[in-house]
Amino acid sequence: MIAAGCDVGSLTAKAVIMKGDVVIATKIIRDRSTPVESARAVMSEALREAGLVFQNINFCCSTGYGRHSIPFALMNMSEISCHAMGAFWAENSIRTVIDIGGQDCKVISLDSSGRVLDFIMNDKCAAGTGRSLEILSKCIGVPLEKLGPVSLKSWRPVLITNKCSIFMELEVLQHMYKGKRTSDIAYGINDAVARRVVSLGRNVDMRYEVAITGGVSKNVGVVRNLEKLLDIRFKPLGVDPQIIGALGAAVFASLELKKLRNAEVAI
């Protein structure tokens, strides 16, 4: 039985294909012009990786901001449930998930069966999301994926105090004019983003174990700063943190498949 999860985010689209309880293919692509097109593209690439075709999918669940318009998805779940379920499936001791995506940021608290207890989300302001990292890294001329490693070399970090991404950009430029080292500014950027996330998460009860998901969790600098600020260690999940949402969707799809099969057996 093939279950698929498709997560169409603001910057990237992710797909996960599961056979029974095993992940057989995952794929991440940059967004196309419409959510439908992105979903089609990412799913067909994932299917090619698994050596399957569209007709093989028994059940597909979609998530992400474009989830309502995916034609081949039979159901959709919110990103919050999917991130919670995906992280819980990967590591069942997880009770808190911090998800930092391209355009939003959320802190989710779960119970011992992977259900969402409480969450808080910021999708109104770009500060503390991947978007602000992208803008600021462009500003100092460091590629986004290098921002983490570069910041680790810093030994006299700058402090970025503004809360708004656009004002942060100005502040970064001022540091550049002053001739600060790129690594020190990179540290400041990661620190500023981490501080925004921490102040968001203050209203949610954070219990162990804590996992970090979403594209920004690939930035070592942000992750280390978060660990320092929250005084915790993140539990490694063993899967690419960027696909957790899609993974959760696939898990929901396979649960739905099991339910359907049990119903058939009962008949």
Binding site: C125, A126, R131, C164, I166, Q174, Y177
Partner: protein, 279 residues
Amino acid sequence: MITAGFDIGTRFVKVCVAKDESILGYAIEETGKDMRKIIRGAYKKALERSGVKKRSVERRMATGYGASLVKRANGTVPEAPCVARAVHVLDPEARLAVDVGGLFINVIGVNPRGFIDGALTNDKCAAGSGKFLEMVSETLSVPFQSISDMALKSNSPYSINSQCAVFAESEIISQINAGREGSDILAGVLKSIVLRAITLVERSDSSGRVALCGGISKLPAFRVMFERMIKDNTYLPTVDPQIIAAYGAALLAGGRGGQRKNGASKSSAPDTPRPAGQR
């Protein structure tokens, strides 16, 4: 006394050379990577235009976001007192100055003697600032001069849903891709700036004539929208509204602005307040 005022903003460097209360010449330059050089260039240009030798400028005062970059300044002043002073000199009846610039909107109360009477600014978040306009005009490749004409043509301004300026950028781009008229988007952007300014005006409790200044108020479309939404009379300075703060800095450089021939009001206030910002 010949003085010079430097206003180092987020988008433009403004330098104004003044003799007592009259403007001799001014220059506006876009900001860039090498700020020192740009400031020097703008100063030189302003001096040339006013026909004044550099050494005859007695005092220099700097204001704005990058005020500390002006090395030769005798001191730095916040923007609010500069704008208040300049607006007061240009129109003593104005009680509120609305300064709409590239990133910051300042709403400054001006008391009858030309001192600041409370100031508000959007210092936490760039939502609804001039940055929106810059992004859109860049994406639509509309030069600054024709923004106003285009915006005035629109019948159904598109109102932007996103709060955050960063998200608004992507929203605007997707609207352009979806084929929405550039004029509707521009009008919507101007409206969001006006709304932001109006909220700040409403939060300040002063009433009376409102002076519009800052680069954005050069746009007739902005003024039309602003005037439609505000109950008080507005006043547009007779000089270039973009250099108001630089002019104010030049005025403040000339000394204690509060001692203008205002004998009557002075006697009523025994404790003469120090001009705000002068250290």
